[in-house]
């Protein structure tokens, strides 16, 4: 059991009907994607062809910020405001889609972009499934 799941298990109140396993998957995907995007921006910055990766660096930094915020918002539960959660998840899905598309264009040349595109796709999907389950 991941520490994210352990924390959800130890939560002293209800989760407002949110599916616990989808929530844990969403949080973990956001946290993972934020780290990968931060690292990918930095790896792009080390490439010889950095001038061709400017947009990729920016998109990675934006996506890292949005995933970090989403992971934190999803880690707060009680008194749950579904409006905020839905809006934040929607913005995260958009950021992940943009970043996955951008990184995918450099995936054959740069392994860090391939890994980042995969993390963004996974995060977008986990957020989408969580959003759907919120009803």
């Amino acid at each position: 059991m991941s520490t994210t799941e352990q924390m959800l298990e130890s939560y002293p109140a209800g989760l407002g009907g949110v599916d616990k396993s989808r929530l844990a998957e969403g949080i973990d995907a956001c946290v993972d994607c934020a780290q990968v995007c931060t690292a990918c921006a930095d790896a792009c910055l080390s490439e010889d062809m950095v001038d061709e990766l400017r947009k990729c660096i920016r998109t990675c930094l934006d996506c890292a910020d949005m995933c970090g915020t989403t992971g934190r918002v999803l880690s707060r539960h009680t008194g749950y405001d579904a409006n905020i959660s839905r809006a934040v998840l929607q913005a995260c899905i958009t950021a992940c889609q943009s970043c996955a598309d951008e990184c995918a264009q450099h995936a054959e040349m740069h392994d860090h972009c391939r890994i980042c595109a995969e993390a963004c796709r996974a995060c977008g999907e986990a957020c989408g499934q969580l959003l759907d389950s919120l009803g």
Copy 2:
């Protein structure tokens, strides 16, 4: 001229048609609101009636995170991805609306909630005007 405006003036590339003055107002409102929400969550935590302010604390923390991310995303310009900006602004407007509504309920009793509600309304409006101007 604020440092935000100075930085926009010194920007070495175009801003993709974004209105510079609305952009500066949006960034400054986000940065200000993030600080006020962080401080309001902490002030609520110091109130005797903290048990009645749990939802307010959470909403302030969520809004602080979302405003912080929006301020950073808006501070990155070139290669500008309007999809991310729009989605992030929309989520920020929603968070500010929720936080303004929640803090407004405690505004008569707690001055920090009154100031926070005002900062959230101002940030929501600045983000709304910027979003409209993006076309």
Copy 3:
């Protein structure tokens, strides 16, 4: 291999002599601790005895912020400024120590505090070992 390690493996430049495995452990511990501290602050806020957990909530929020920043700083490598890394690691170790001590006082009563204290101890140790290895 974790995505953190995969990203380090795909890095296009040297890591300035930093031990790759200690670095991955430090990043992962920071990322994990930031999530756990965010969740513990929220769980404390849901407890009936929230008025006795105010300091714990604040310390968890501070530690979450410091671990998040440390995880991002450690995820940027080239052009490596050892002064910043050392100072950030030192602050993270201090925050983890304070949060572990505070949460440990509530560990028998609240499982989330027990898990959080453990995550803080683990993060402090991983940061300490990384700091030592920087020479």
Copy 4:
């Protein structure tokens, strides 16, 4: 009166003997520096000579993260843990020093680096004065 000062004035508890005006200056300097560093990293990324500004971009991103965290930690007061505040301020001073030195090297060529170096020096000084006043 800035909103930061208004929030300090409305605080329902004591500030643990911290000088209110130095605290407000420290918070405002951190918040301002975090925005300027985020914008400077992005402006550097738009320069033709981006390959010579890689280290500057990284240092700006590190400094932005550290200033953001310091601004939030300083915005939480009661139950005040002076150990965390001191360690975080120390790390922020180091990051600001490194970033000011790095940006100063490009200040004659790039106005954004000049403004950023000034913001970093101002933030380092405000944090230093606050740290001294903590005793």
